[in-house]
């Protein structure tokens, strides 16, 4: 297999120009992993609101309420001065100021109005829990009082405490898989499209250029090696190079995010990226049959990789791109690769119905691969004939 071996040697020789892309890729991947891994919500915990609790009366029920409230919120002690309270709100020391007016307890128990004064920071989700607490406690108090008219406030308070002491268990209904949605893996595999394209086009085209040099081609025609044999050896070397590049790049993903290996999504990410690798490898082969000089290769390489990656949503998610751009992008395999990736990332169930859209995108990528190979073969034949 002399041709195969020499082809590998040439790959090794060109390694430096290719590794630049890998280094850049890794640097960016590291950045993404550093920022994204930390904010992956896997457990549910109620975020505690910070509340200023101002009570103008200290009835047993108000005291009980304060205790109850302190279980689910952080009560910040503040003096009852409107200026101080405003400042606290402004600087987000608290997001909720709750004032119990004088005669509030009496009004509630007697079935009157339940009028609390509250000042809040708008749009703070945690405040809803405070409102919930208020409603729950005082409505229950009114309910008990109505059912048991003779009950003392102390008795009422202890009953309420017993009733409300339990916590409601909240179960997150997500499986392991959903972790990957908007996750590091998705970013990684999307961005992989850029690096893989650059590495393969640079690597394969430059090596194939060497064998396409007229003098060397003529020299090979003189040898007893069949032309088909030479082509097969070159093809094998290219596939090995593509496979190795893929393995190295994917390997880094596992290093940076070891947990991702166990998910089902990863399996499909891998399949998708492998198909993409094959597609770009055949494109690289095609490029080398068309282009004449190495400078042209690196120019075309940059144009193709950067261009397609931009319009296909590698750098900017597809949902932010305008529909005309996406229409144009759909004529590139990168678009379908990114689309499949995004779809895979959202998968939580792996039944046929859920998988079908992703598989459809992959199928289109396969069609591209076939087309590239066919065109390359036709051009190759024609070149041979005109020689």
């Amino acid at each position: 297999m002399p041709v195969f071996k020499v082809c590998l040697k040439i790959f090794r020789k060109n390694w430096l120009s290719v590794s630049i892309y890998i280094v850049i890729f890794l640097a960016i991947a590291l950045l993404i992993s550093a920022t994204s891994v930390s904010e992956r919500p896997t457990t549910f915990s109620q975020k505690k609101a910070r509340v200023a609790f101002i009570a103008e009366e200290q009835t047993p029920l108000v005291k009980g309420f304060r205790k109850e409230l302190s279980r689910s919120t952080t009560i910040v002690a503040l003096p009852d001065q409107s200026e101080k309270l405003q400042d606290a709100l402004y600087f987000r020391q608290v997001t909720y100021i709750l004032r119990i007016p004088k005669g509030f307890t009496e009004s509630v128990l007697s079935g009157g109005k339940m009028q609390l004064e509250k000042t809040v920071v708008p749009n703070s989700i945690e405040n809803t829990y405070v409102d919930l607490n208020v409603d729950q406690y005082w409505n229950l108090a009114r309910l008990y009082a109505a059912h048991d008219p003779g009950i003392s406030q102390n008795g009422l308070a202890s009953r309420l405490r017993a009733n409300l002491s339990g916590t409601t268990p909240v179960v997150m209904k997500t499986e392991n898989a959903a972790k990957t949605s908007d996750s590091f893996s998705m970013f990684y595999f999307n961005f992989l499209a850029y690096t893989l394209s650059a590495v393969l086009i640079m690597g394969i085209s430059t090596a194939m250029m060497v064998f396409r040099r007229r003098d060397l081609r003529m020299r090979h025609y003189c040898s007893p090696l069949k032309q088909a044999n030479v082509t097969m050896q070159l093809l094998a070397a290219n596939l090995l190079f593509a496979g190795a590049s893929w393995a190295v790049l994917v390997g880094f993903c596992f290093l940076l995010d070891p947990q991702s290996i166990v998910t089902m999504n990863m399996l499909y990410f891998l399949i998708n990226s492998l198909l993409f690798t094959g597609c770009i490898a055949s494109l690289s082969y095609l490029i080398s049959t068309v282009l004449k000089s190495l400078n042209a290769v690196s120019a075309v390489c940059n144009l193709i990789t950067l261009g397609t990656c931009f319009i296909s949503g590698v750098f900017v998610p597809q949902e932010f791109l305008n529909s005309t751009v996406l229409k144009i992008a759909s004529f590139t395999p990168t678009y379908w690769y990114v689309q499949a990736n995004t779809r895979i990332a959202k998968l939580t169930h792996f039944s046929w119905d859920h998988l079908a859209p992703s598989l459809y995108s992959m199928l289109i990528m396969l069609a591209f691969t076939g087309a590239f190979i066919a065109i390359a073969l036709v051009i190759g034949r024609r070149q041979q004939a005109t020689n």
Binding site: P2, K9, D215, L216, R219, Y221, C222, S223, P224, K226
Partner: protein, 309 residues
């Protein structure tokens, strides 16, 4: 060993090979001599089935030559006019690669590669990359890559372009040695000295046609020129020059930079007649050189132009 009959090759309107016929026998060193653009490389490429041609027959080793005559190709060594080596490989790796296209056995190949390196004397440059070699060394590498597998038939297309005279002689000696060891050689060149020194039979090519072929003696016998005499003379007038031209056996006389250049026919005796003439007319002369005709003279006489213009 190679049999070419009525080969016609056109590039559009240009007729590159005009009914070319060659017959190259086993064991000889066959020279294909011709000026630039005469069609030497085209002929070689057609013979090797690298180029398609319009008409004609080509046989090598008694078999019709086709693009997939792999058995024949196995026994042919080719040194192309354009250096065909991998810039990415070292000298050793290059020779090993091209040898490996023919010879699969590793230890056998190692021996052959070492022999080829000795042959072109690149022992000190084994680890060099082609880009680091001078033009002459690169040519030698090109030769080594073509002959390492010890083929029965070696075709060399102007292998010594840009090689200094010393290395050129080494290469020519080497080729003669390969021939002694049993290889048939086809050698193209536009240097007549090389061809004259090396080849046992020669075909002279011009505008795609063989204008003459045979051994050197046969070629030189074809022309009227027998001897070229150069005499350093001090002065001579136009009348005396005219009288010299009329001497028997003298074909032409030129007076260039105090030298008389006299071309004479095949019959002996012209030199004596000339010297007698100079003495009787008391024309002083110095050194005398006599040259036998070269292939350039053959080419000149047949085509009316210099081989190297």
């Amino acid at each position: 060993m190679i049999h070419v009959k009525n080969l016609l090759k056109r590039y559009g309107d240009l007729v590159a090979l005009d009914h070319l016929s060659l017959d190259i026998k086993e064991g000889e060193i066959f020279g294909l001599l011709g000026p630039n653009g005469s069609g030497k490389s085209t002929a070689i490429n057609c013979i090797l089935s690298l180029l398609s041609f319009d008409k004609g027959e080509i046989e090598i080793f008694g078999k019709k030559m086709t693009p997939d005559a792999y058995e024949s190709k196995r026994n042919i060594g080719i040194v192309m006019q354009n250096v065909a080596v991998f810039d990415e490989l070292t000298v050793y790796e290059n020779i090993d690669y091209f040898c490996g296209l023919y010879v699969h056995d590793k230890s056998e190949r190692k021996r052959l590669v070492e022999e080829a390196i000795d042959f072109v004397e690149l022992g000190n440059f084994k680890k060099f990359h082609p880009k680091k070699l001078s033009g002459g060394l690169l040519r030698r590498l090109n030769i080594a890559c073509g002959i390492a597998h010890r083929p029965k038939l070696i075709i060399l297309d102007e292998p010594t372009v840009a090689v200094d005279p010393q290395s050129r002689n080494k290469i020519l000696e080497g080729i003669a040695r390969l021939n002694k060891q049993g290889a048939t050689i086809v050698y193209t060149s536009h240097y007549m000295e090389e061809v004259e020194q090396l080849c046992s039979r020669i075909a002279i090519l011009d505008k795609g046609r063989v204008i003459a072929s045979g051994t050197q003696e046969e070629l030189k016998a074809m022309i009227t020129l027998g001897e070229k005499i150069t005499i350093e003379a001090f002065s001579i007038n136009e009348q005396e020059l005219q009288q010299l031209r009329e001497l028997p056996g003298v074909l032409s006389v030129q007076w260039i930079e105090k030298r008389l250049v006299i071309k004479s026919g095949k019959k002996a005796g012209s030199l004596e007649a000339v010297l007698d003439f100079l003495k009787t007319h008391e024309i002083g002369f110095g050194r005398i050189y006599s040259e036998l005709p070269t292939l350039n003279d053959v080419f000149l006489e047949i085509t009316g132009k210099q081989l190297r213009d």
